[in-house]
Subunit: 382 residues, 4 copies
């Protein structure tokens, strides 16, 4: 049985905990034909690294990521540092032939992301980016229901990702500034909507967008269009955009950090030629499914509990036991590990991350120029 | 007690029935200080008019609207004909000094609507247009909760009005063609979203839009951007647009006739400086309200039953008895009659209808030109 | 076209308004082959009667119900007085050969109710009791879905009817005292659950119950089992009971006036051999339907919008327009009028009201004796 | 840092996997001041034990539970075998001074359970039973909101635990027969309702119950009252009961394995003197909370997302990330381990398990005798 030795870089924070849990759960969630070792946890603060390694079940700790990614005792590198460090670490790991999992955004600029994608392709390493929501059973099930499934081809996508937490920008260190990798509402959470929309509806061809920022000088002021000065520094707090897809689907998107009462409220609806499907992360085990060919007397949106008997990813023998954030994290990491075990590419890969950054760039450019922006070509190899 | 004698023009169809019910319920719903007489029902088909008048409680019937709107025995004219006839009838009624209620759209072109508004203002008659959803207790309550209420100033509006009934276009005679007054998804149902959005969030200043049409040659084809040829004839089946409001609010809108499982699904959410409010016509008595200053232990969206003790418009002494479509129709007509009784303007008036048509025009132009369109000045007198 | 001349007795209050609206809406809701005249409204207070008659569209008013029920100009008598007066008025009306609609409870004792049922049967008049919820389209639809429909035979019934309004007992004059016809939570609202349960699941054969009352001396005291003294006077504020039905169905019921946040919250679920159906009055147009033979990938509770295309009772040509309390009132009165027009019995009739009172009595006896109580034979002729 | 070495007995099945995950997650979920070692997994089938140990991260495996519970290298024994074996293993483990976690039901008879409780008390070992739902953050939060919190004292409890899976009885080996520890709908899932009800509302004093079984000879037959013969063998498939609590609360309960569309549908509502609280496992992160003193304009049930900022048990720094079945399992096991680390009793302990078995016995006796059954004294020491 193949053994995969993982190094977690930047493991002292929230994402370090989430990924540590993910690796522990990944291999117990269902039967797998590989073995994973949580070999070493790295953090710039060595004491924090030692503490986290001990608490989260890693065999060793280190403050020196450079030596770790070069070590022959490591097969895969998982990067959960602030985004500003992603590229350097990933390129080094790839140079040493390591498989790489990198949290999103891999970088906040297309050229940097492209550099990582090219390196990963040339290095022939398995690479994956942390768009975790795509992996939860409900989304996988939605994908299967769409073309060529019962729901047919998409016609319209309506997605929202809303929070009521301004502190995501003001408090979360690196998130508040572009310099350290902050990416605003569009990049930070809107990116998940973009990933899901393209995963389920195909490529976007053009976008028209609005991005706004609140006046920070007093608390309850309204939003205004993000100014040039803010764009360089403060980042957008909310954004909304419309899009046209290659297959004719039209899309409507909203992402924002200041929607009262919304708690990680990622939700979407897709109208399609054979029916419709809707998802809301606040009820993550459920899909709402409409079928156009239902008998009138019993026609209506069905609340489908996505569980055993439907999705192999759900290990429970009992439907309705419930999935949480950790389960989704575990499924995404298990897929990464499985791809390594099978010696094949993982998905979504760095190329797909480039693509998402292209869309984010187009949205920003559209908001800035007050014009539709047409998407550039998709990166090669995806 | 003032008596208001009403003539209903075009009363042989669905809207004739709805308004007939509305007048019967309007004065029994709560105490009023006027009396209404359902004096005469007019339909181009005299037999249909006689049948409908008898079934729906009108004192008389006629096939000749011209003589009716000129009659000294009529105080108010209510127009529910296909939109193509609205202007001629309304102008004649105004010329005879009648108060006029006109179903929406009063016309599908701004100049025509403006002509009606100017005539009504010059004629000094009470005039109202049938944007009925604005009148239901939940929306009235939302208005009161917003600035300067607990919810504060709007930041973001997200609205959808979706149906799964393509037949609205293909089957509903006049709706399928511009010539007879059809106005597509944007004009037919999107107009209600525009009315509500401006009612609650203030004036829109610019829009960027997409409008689409399906290929009619086979049933399950996807949508494509409405072509010029279709634009002249088939009208849009679905549309989505983003908007910026004068006060900085950003808006996202979708209107469509082909969303599987959606039944008259008019819904919106407003994020504001003090909280949020959401509405869904499929649960018309309820508002979902979030308050930012809730204690953490019990914070969360509240499902507020909008009923007695909150809204005077709800006549029931028992909360939770439930409002339907007829109740909303009755409230709107009661407000029209009350304005006549009080000899004051009603709202939304023909000028507001002009304004909504301006927004619809801007959306169509934006979809056509692939560019943001800035709104013209609002009509005088609103 | 047959004309039915109605007298409304006790029309000065809430139910007078509700029934007045009901008669106005009943004949406009859909095409009918009879005509109704709101001939006279009676109230013990003659001024109130005159005022109400004028406001609610009745041709005349009176303070003398005795002469009215004897008048040759009246075909049907509708009784909405406090329950203490129901029997006397109904017997007099029947004696004069009038058809009778009587609000529930027709009386609060089985012998009295039986006397009314016997008189009505012997008099050969159409008679109906005001269990209005049975008539709303969603319940009618549930009935059709059950045996021999897709849902099959009932296995379990779980019903609740909960209010947060204690004032129903303390404030509502006659409701607080047995003498004037008050009937506690079991009789006042639980009776609707009993009607619906037997309508959908067949006869109950035995019950075991708890009834409770709060200590009135201070506001936030808890409940205690209703004492003998209270039983004679204060009536139960909340009750819960289990039941066995003739066909093996088991039932669980709760009725109460002191459930915080509940607004006329009548709801039930029925598990059956082929699926399940659930209803909640707070979303009165919807049924939640589960089908056991659904394909796993799309199995789940469906929210069925009960509307045109399914139910003839819904007049709207557009699904999703929404039903309210008035619509349900109108449907029940239309069915009463239609039965008169067709010269046939209506339902639920006085015999069914006797039956419901039998169940209420059994519940009270069970709560009093702390024992299961077996139901007596059903009244003859139902 | 204290180290706790755990042996898992019966680990080759579903619960073995669930507990294995639970231990892995328990110590990473939040900071703890102890260390856990998954020392050995035992299964009667030695090969299965070896396989499971390897897959689920245990250091060793064994087929001989007797030697394991006697080993000086084990601190705590976790028993997840079929219930028929619980007692023997637990008594042996206690005899060797081990702390014991035992899945529910610890046994299906009160004397047996009492024997285990007495042994555990006398042995002075930390003991806990697997009523896992009590531990999830939403239930903990409900407990805090009730007396002496904002919601005040309970008045009414309504609980349901429903499944659509008959196979729980027919397919799940030991569950179908009393001999091997099967306990029917009342014991298997109803027991969770009893645990939660007494945890939140205090002791039950008497019950009146119905239990039913379907005729197995043909598939879609209805239920009938469980016969004596079936009682000895087939066990109840559905049950419903009412109860009176010591503090005057009244309770209504339903548990069943044959409710179409229900997936592990554990739900309850509690009406209290200051408000109400409701929970539904299908949305496990949410509580619905009503407060009687809400301002009318914004009064209504709140959907409270039970997450960081409210509950320390939720490790996520981001509200709304979502809890699943594994999280609840981990929290319960962490509390067991923490109690061991702190050298103090855990809860719910074996005495509480005795108590729940007392209630189950009373329900069965009530269903059998068709009479109210008064609860015996609670076990000593709880």
């Amino acid at each position: 049985m193949k053994e995969i030795r993982v190094a977690l870089i930047g493991g002292g924070g929230f994402m370090g905990r989430a990924h540590s849990l993910g690796y522990s759960v990944a291999t117990q969630l269902s039967e797998v034909d590989f073995r994973v070792r949580k070999s070493i946890l790295v953090d710039v603060d060595g004491d924090a690294a030692a503490l986290a390694a001990s608490a989260l079940g890693w065999e060793a700790s280190s403050a020196d990521w450079r030596s770790v990614v070069a070590s022959p005792d490591i097969d895969a590198v998982d990067i959960v540092t602030p985004p500003g460090l992603h590229k350097e670490i990933a390129l080094a790991a790839i140079a040493h032939g390591k498989h790489v999992f990198c949290e999103k955004p891999i970088t906040n600029d297309v050229p940097g992301a492209l550099e990582m994608w090219d390196a990963a392709r040339e290095g022939g390493v398995t690479n994956q980016v942390g768009f975790n929501y795509r992996h939860i059973p409900a989304i996988t099930h939605a994908k299967e229901l769409l073309s060529p499934g019962k729901l047919g081809a998409p016609l319209q996508f309506r997605g929202t990702y809303l929070h009521d937490a301004l502190f995501f920008i003001s408090d979360f260190g690196w998130r508040g500034s572009k310099a350290t990798g902050g990416s605003g509402a569009t990049g930070d959470i809107g990116s998940h909507l973009i990933d899901i929309a393209e995963y389920l509806c195909g490529p976007i061809v053009r976008v028209s967008a609005l991005q706004v920022t609140r006046d920070r000088s007093h608390a309850d002021s309204g939003w205004h269009k993000t100014t040039d000065a803010e764009r360089g520094e403060l980042l957008d707090e909310a954004a909304t955009w419309i899009a046209e897809f290659e297959n004719g689907t039209i899309g409507t998107f909203s992402a924002g950090f200041y929607s009262p009462g919304k708690k990680n409220a990622l939700a979407f609806e897709i109208d399609a030629t054979g029916g419709a499907v809707a998802f809301d992360w606040n009820n993550p085990d459920q899909l709402i499914v409409d079928l156009l060919d239902d008998q009138a007397a019993v026609a209506g949106p069905r609340t489908v509990e996505v569980s055993q008997g439907i999705q192999e990813d759900v290990w429970y023998p009992v439907p309705g036991l419930g999935q949480g954030y950790v389960d989704g994290m575990a499924i995404q990491l298990r897929r990464f590990l499985q791809a390594i075990a099978d010696d094949r590419p993982a998905t979504p890969n760095f190329g797909e991350a480039v693509r998402i950054q292209q869309v984010i760039d187009a949205i920003e450019q559209s908001a800035f120029t007050n014009a539709w922006v047409t998407m550039p070509d998709r990166p090669k190899g995806i």
